[in-house]
């Protein structure tokens, strides 16, 4: 029961105005951004100052799915910019891809999403640079023929750029928690017999307890879930075979998405036998953004791109949504089993132990894409400090056993485990830093911590460099024996 209740209130409250646009944005990024626009900065000849940020950008924009991550990672490593940018890409892709960021911001809070982005960027580039320095001698010889892979200068089509602007406006106007967006501007009263009783019944079915972080379910929520279900069925008919051409069902599915989003943006007040539909600036904003989206997509976007966009968005929904639903269901059950005291003793404060616990939980628990977010929300509700929570959110997507197994054949065992060690260390550090900031530590203190850590690293590197030089003096022809791929 806890599982189902959690699922129902989750679907009604969070999914629509945050996740639906997020899926369409992710789909647009995959389908409409020509990959060479980013990958041309990942060739061997690109200077470091450009290739590391470009690798992070590629991770954020192009790689929502592991299908893209592994080949692109291997390509950058073997044929392009080398081990450093490749690992920056690998680190940044799951932590800060657009779906994960939007979703974290919508469910947990914009502060944590920003921390995930900024610290992920800093540490992703840091780990890339570290690994490149550590394994400089072993960075493999590139074959000269492949640099053409990173050539070409295609541009984003004008209509596609406009589409991004409108989709992001849709996301913002739908999810921002601003009072101005919620002021009523018009009200329509519709008579619906017995709707008050339906609401009461729903409240009994899904008990409402704000102290436990539970959310209730209203008749509007129930209607939205129903609409979502119908939209899913229509999309299956309309989008699954979209490569054969658009059908009437494609139109039906799109219309249903529009209807659902607009209805989700209306405030509903229930009386015994009637409903007050309150139109707010949020409602009109969502409606306007949707109208603009349809206009741009249908009038200016080439049909082939429109097809690819709808397909990629639908593919993300098909791939991620079922896992997310199963995950949220499981979280609802878990929440009743875990005692808040356990979490509070272990990670209730921003201690070193708490942050390490967060990282370890991330490494040993494998959750599919995005499920880490509802899990994190549960942990937060159970009393976890935001510092260890960030440590967990950084470590979980990077360090699943599955991803370690996937990159081992490409990198080799030594380099993979070195990478894993760095990620664990840096995630704990990210948690500590962010936690200290949440606790109100002064910036100077945080800067001191980070300087100390960097100094420690620098000493280690100096020692390593001396050792390396000593080795080279003894053995003037270093053999690249550690290179598996050569």
């Amino acid at each position: 029961m806890g599982g189902l209740g959690n699922l129902a209130s989750y679907l009604a409250a969070h999914v629509l105005l945050c996740l639906v646009p997020a899926f369409y944005i992710a789909g647009a990024m995959t389908a409409l951004i020509p990959k060479p626009a980013v990958t041309r900065f990942l060739g061997r000849s690109t200077p470091k100052g450009l290739s590391y940020p470009a690798a992070a950008l590629a991770g954020s924009l192009l790689a929502v799915c592991s299908c893209t991550i592994v080949p692109l990672f291997a390509g950058i490593y073997r044929k392009g910019a080398g081990i450093g940018p490749a690992l920056t890409f690998l680190f940044f892709a799951p932590a800060a891809n657009i779906l994960a960021l939007i979703y974290t911001g919508g469910v947990i809070g914009v502060d944590l999403a920003l921390a995930r982005l900024v610290l992920g960027l800093a540490f992703g580039i840091g780990i890339g640079l570290l690994m490149a320095a550590l394994f400089r001698d072993a960075d493999i010889a590139h074959d000269a023929a492949t640099d053409s892979l990173f050539a070409g200068e295609p541009h984003l089509a004008g209509a596609a750029a406009l589409l991004f602007v409108v989709l992001i406006a849709l996301l913002l106007v739908g999810t921002l928690k601003l009072d101005a967006l919620a002021t009523p501007i018009a009200q329509v009263t519709v008579g619906v017999p017995f709707v008050g009783r339906v609401d009461t019944a729903l409240h009994q079915l899904v008990p409402f307890d704000a102290t436990k972080g539970e959310e209730g379910l209203t008749s509007q929520g129930a209607a939205l879930i129903l609409l979502l279900l119908i939209t899913g069925l229509a999309s299956w008919r309309g989008l699954e075979h979209i490569h054969q051409g658009f059908s009437r069902w494609t139109g039906v599915a799109s219309a249903l998405v529009v209807l659902t989003l607009v209805f989700a943006a209306v405030q509903v007040v229930t009386h015994a036998n009637s409903l007050d539909l309150i139109i707010t600036p949020r409602t009109t904003g969502v409606a306007a953004a949707l109208a603009a989206t349809i206009l741009i997509a249908w009038r200016w976007l080439p049909r082939a791109l429109l097809r690819d966009w709808l397909w990629e968005s639908w593919r993300f929904v098909k791939q991620i949504f079922p896992l997310l639903i199963a995950g949220v269901f499981a979280v609802g059950i878990l929440r009743m089993l875990i005692q808040p005291e356990w979490i509070e003793t272990l990670a209730g404060t921003n201690s070193l132990l708490g942050n390490i616990a967060g990282v370890l939980f991330g490494v040993f628990m494998y959750f599919p894409t995005l499920v880490e977010v509802p899990i994190a929300k549960m942990l937060l509700g159970l009393g976890m400090h935001r510092g260890p929570l960030l440590a967990y959110l950084m470590a979980d997507p990077e360090l699943s056993l599955q991803s370690i197994l996937m990159i081992t054949p490409i990198l080799g065992r030594l380099r993979t485990w070195t990478y894993v060690g760095w990620v664990a260390l840096f995630s704990a550090l990210a948690g500590l830093v962010y936690g200290a900031w949440v606790d109100g530590a002064r910036l100077a203190m945080i800067a001191l911590y980070i300087t100390g850590f960097v100094a420690l690293l620098a000493c280690g590197f100096a020692a390593l460099e001396r050792h390396r030089r000593a080795m080279r003096a003894r053995n003037p022809l270093p053999t690249p024996s550690t290179v598996r791929e050569a």
Binding site: A31, K35, T39, L62, C65, S66, C67, T68, V70, P71, L72, A74, G75, R78, T146, S148, L149, H243, Q244, A304, R307, D308, W311, R315, K318, Q319, M406, P409, I410
Partner: protein, 87 residues
Amino acid sequence: MLDIKVLGPGCANCKKVEAIAQQAVLAMGVEANIAKVTRIEEILEYNLLSTPGLVVNSKVVCSGRVPSPAEVSTWLADALEAALHAN
């Protein structure tokens, strides 16, 4: 005889590309051998940065997206013509 390879570790898009290639081959009535390449090491031997990839007679014709059946037909026709000229 056309040699068609679908490159990809087995995600939804790779399966889609395979289905579309099969459909194009059937529609054109040409003889073709469609193989799936799923091992990353083998995929990397081709010149591409993202999967799914489609290879016709050892030439990468498309990568990183799902082509339409009409596009695949054009590539198959081109490959047939090239093979004819080579003989």
